[in-house]
């Protein structure tokens, strides 16, 4: 079973999780926990809270495996959406927001942060970097502040001193533009598994 699991598709893994195979959850963890932790830590800025998010996300998969719908995207995309939602919930509680801002200020002093540094796989990184590069600066900043900063579009509007409606549209337009450029070079989300 173990050797089969390491070759199993994400969908097969979730089915095995639904059948309470702990080793299937372990394999899912092996594949995706690094990404989950990295995103949680980036959004919250606190490794201890990020570890709690990792724990919650995988326990949620264990308890509610049927919430994952393979027709709506990969398991990685599902887990990261769960991670992001939970991280943002935590962030929007006052204490962790303050911690995150302290961390952010420190990071900003140490090195210029840019969205291009947030991509991962070497092959994929180049494509994603290009897709980010074609975004107009306003769209790129809005997505960055919303996704990695955990800000609402209203907060982003305040931060960028732009109308709320404009920011809302830019986030959507930017995501569509990125998807189109990634699709044009044959990058699909399944490559991120």
């Amino acid at each position: 079973m173990d050797s089969l699991l390491t070759e199993a598709s994400d969908t097969a893994l979730v089915l095995a999780v639904a059948r309470y195979r702990q080793e299937a959850l372990a394999e899912t963890y092996r594949r995706h926990a690094g990404s989950v932790f990295a995103l949680a830590k980036r959004v919250i800025g606190d490794p201890v809270l990020a570890e709690e998010v990792v724990q919650e996300v995988f326990l949620r998969l264990w308890n509610d495996p049927d919430k994952f719908d393979p027709s709506r995207g990969s398991l990685r995309s599902y887990l990261l959406a769960q991670t992001h939602g939970r991280a943002v919930d935590l962030l929007r509680s006052e204490g962790s927001r303050r911690r995150r801002e302290e961390t952010e200020a420190r990071q900003a002093a140490e090195s210029g942060y840019d969205i291009e540094h947030e991509v991962w796989d070497l092959d994929l990184a180049e494509h994603v970097k290009k897709a980010v590069a074609v975004l107009p600066e306003d769209e790129r900043r809005a997505i960055q502040l919303a996704y990695f900063g955990g800000h609402t579009y209203r907060e982003v509007a305040t931060l960028l001193d732009q109308p709320e409606g404009t920011v809302k549209s830019r986030i959507r337009a930017g995501l569509k533009r990125m998807r189109a450029s990634l699709g044009a070079v044959g990058v699909t989300e399944s490559m991120g598994t």
């Binding site: 969908t11 097969a12 979730v14 089915l15 095995a16 639904a18 059948r19 309470y20 702990q22 959850l25 963890y29 926990a33 690094g34 990404s35 932790f37 990295a38 995103l39 980036r42 570890e51 990792v54 326990l59 264990w62 308890n63 495996p65 049927d66 393979p70 027709s71 709506r72 995207g73 990969s74 995309s77 959406a81 992001h84 943002v88 969205i115 947030e118 991509v119 991962w120 994603v128 980010v132 997505i143 919303a146 996704y147 609402t152 579009y153 209203r154 982003v156 409606g165 920011v167 809302k168 549209s169 986030i171 959507r172 930017g174 995501l175 569509k176 990125m178 998807r179 990634l182 991120g192």
Partner: protein
């Protein structure tokens, strides 16, 4: 909060990034329940966002141990956990004699009892099929069976919902040669009734039973359309939970 379709659409990017207020999130979610096009758009945005997310480093040491510890300390609902989490040794059913009598009676049974002969529902694509099977596996009302071979090397999970819809999910079952097919049978009262032809290399297959069987078995038969009564001994077999 009531928003027009256009207003909702404008929010979808921000919503996918968890960047809307709570009341807007509620309004979007209400809309998404009824609008497949907007659901698709949110899924697409989330996939794009997932590509941006950083990875590379392993998860911190110790977190898995905490997760695994929680799995043991807080087992899920008993009716869900028992058949799958801790598969108990089943009393071996006297398969061969049962099948011998079954083979004699089955052709008549198929014709007379009018069980729905299940078939793979080809309208369902594999992905939604998988999700339906997953939902059935975690449904506390579902009847479940783990069909295993005599040596324990081959295993298939079966789940039957109270309305007779069922799913077969392969755990370990080798592919057959191109001219053969797996076939699923119910074995109630010593009679084998075909529940469906599973194909030579089944992964997840749906079937429909007239009622929830008490025993199920899978044989390997001549393909591609299967046989009216089993011509071979079962490869895997198991009792269905009450």
């Amino acid at each position: 909060m009531t928003l027009s379709h256009t207003e909702i659409e404008e929010l979808l990017g921000a919503y996918a990034l968890d960047a809307v207020d709570a009341d807007e999130a509620d309004a979007v979610e209400q809309h998404l329940r009824e609008c497949p096009r907007c659901r698709d758009e949110v899924a697409a945005h989330r996939q794009t966002a997932a590509l941006l997310a950083h990875t590379g480093a392993d998860a911190p040491a110790g977190v898995w141990d905490r997760i695994a510890g929680n799995l043991e300390e807080t087992p899920p609902a008993a009716e869900r956990a028992i058949p799958w989490a801790t598969p108990r040794r089943r009393r071996r059913v006297p398969v061969i004699p049962l099948m011998a009598s079954a083979m004699a009676a089955a052709a008549v049974v198929v014709a007379l009892l009018g069980f729905t002969v299940a078939r793979q529902n080809r309208r369902l694509d594999r992905l939604s099929l998988t999700q339906s099977a997953t939902a059935a596996l975690v449904n506390p009302a579902a009847h479940k069976a783990r069909l295993v071979s005599a040596d324990g090397a081959m295993a298939v999970d079966a789940v039957v919902l109270p309305d007779g819809r069922g799913y077969i999910v392969r755990d370990s079952l080798p592919a057959l040669s191109a001219d053969r097919t797996y076939q699923l049978w119910s074995l109630d009262g010593g009679k084998a009734v075909s529940l469906g032809v599973l194909g030579r290399n089944p992964d997840v297959v749906t079937f429909r039973a007239g009622r929830v069987p008490t025993e199920m078995a899978i044989t390997a038969e001549k393909g591609p359309h299967g046989v009216k009564s089993p011509q071979h001994s079962p490869i895997v077999t198991g009792a269905v939970s009450a």
